[in-house]
Amino acid sequence: MSIRNSLLALLERGPMHGYQLRAAFEASVGGTWSLNIGQVYTTLSRLERDELVAALPENDEGQRPYEITARGRTELNQWFATPIDRADRPRDELAIKLALAMTTPGVDLASVVQTQRVAGIRALQEYTRLKVSGGGDPDDPSWLLVLEAMIFQTEAEIRWLDFCEATILRKRTVPVPKTDAPVAARQTGPKVAGA
């Protein structure tokens, strides 16, 4: 996630100092992501070094507002015009973890899946609660957009876990010896944590 470009986008609304930028950022994401003020100032000084923003004179409270430069505006437009490359995102740690769990002796893959599924459901419960309580500014629906993105991502992860369980895990179950017992009584299925 580019804090750099986020700050440029916020400065496009007009000059702001660090604390104002932090508040505006958090309002935009509905409190789903908090920035620390140190990060804001570090990023601002880099943006100033690269001539993407310019510092204005300090106000009476000793706070220094920044404004976006023409060069900064070009960079911002470039950001909005360019899709985010999937290869630039962090590798999916969960997929790697499950792949390793499949091949590591003594690891109960079904438990790993279920633990992750419960964590996902809990996340969805909390996101939904935040959505219902209207955590963000009702006049600014951008926070809802961020929250929905997190809901969709979590939902996708849980669907993928369901898929893994239904397909890959089934293949790993120990073959059941042939008996005359009916199928229903022989179904073993994947073992699940807490069963």
Binding site: M1, W33, R117, I121, Q125, E126, V132, A184, G194
Partner: protein, 238 residues
């Protein structure tokens, strides 16, 4: 006070070697103001659990209590009364009566229970309004889309003083926006003091619940309660 309680509930179909164990020793309580979602793969016992909660089926062993009364101790008439007064159902097939308008369909359970027609209609209209379809009150089922019929069915399930609302994939026929509206209505009703049991395979819908239970092969294998704080879930600052 518990609205719904399962005490070591088993449900077996058939016997001997061909017996199918739909539920095996389920314990569950749902209190007023609590919405519990049930998740699990097909055949895990979700629908059996819901049918038992609604008195549409009885356990082979154990007890199902609604407001402290074991459903298997009730007469046929007593059970019908509990189903009519206390329990609201939203099932996948909406089962509206084709010869009645939307408002008449919603008012019907109240009228059957002795409420005067005028009062029943007023309550029905208000229930339709809650779910955003008061303007469809005079339409017949065949004059409505599937989604609209489902919303009427939901209004019917929630009308009057239902203390236990049972929902089986209640948003199946609905687009995502209307589906969300339905869940909001369900959530509001539960927040106002009802107890709710929601069977769903959609994780997103389970997110509306206070607690999510996972069924596998007829047993509850896991439960997810809410976390104490949303901050545990927020993305770490980079």
């Amino acid at each position: 006070m518990t609205v719904l309680e399962f005490r070591d509930v088993h449900r077996t179909h058939g016997d001997g070697e061909s017996a199918v164990h739909a539920l095996r020793g389920v314990h569950l309580t749902v209190r007023p103001g609590e919405l519990v979602a049930v998740m699990g793969p097909s055949g895990s016992g979700k629908s059996t659990l819901l049918n038992l909660a609604g008195g549409l089926d009885l356990p082979s062993h154990g007890e199902v209590l609604v407001e402290g009364v074991a459903l298997d101790t009730l007469s046929h008439r007593g059970l019908a009364e509990v189903r009519r007064r206390t329990i609201g159902y939203v099932f996948q097939d909406f089962n509206l009566l084709p010869s009645l308008t939307a408002v008449e369909n919603v008012a019907l359970p109240l009228e059957l229970d002795g409420t005067g027609i005028r009062e029943a209609r007023r309550a029905a209209l208000s229930a339709l309004g809650d779910i955003g379809i008061a303007d469809l009150a005079r339409r017949f089922p065949d004059e409505m889309s599937g989604g609209q019929q489902q919303r009427v069915a939901i209004a019917r399930a929630l009308v009057g003083d239902r203390r236990l609302v049972l929902a089986d994939e209640p948003t199946g026929a609905l687009d995502s926006q209307t589906g969300e509206l339905v869940l909001r209505v369900l959530r509001d009703r539960v927040d106002a003091g009802a107890a709710g049991l929601l069977v769903t395979h959609e994780a997103r819908h389970a997110g509306w619940a206070d607690r999510v239970i996972f069924l596998r092969d007829g047993s509850i294998v896991d439960t997810s309660g809410p976390l104490a704080s949303v901050t545990d879930l927020l993305e770490p600052t980079p």
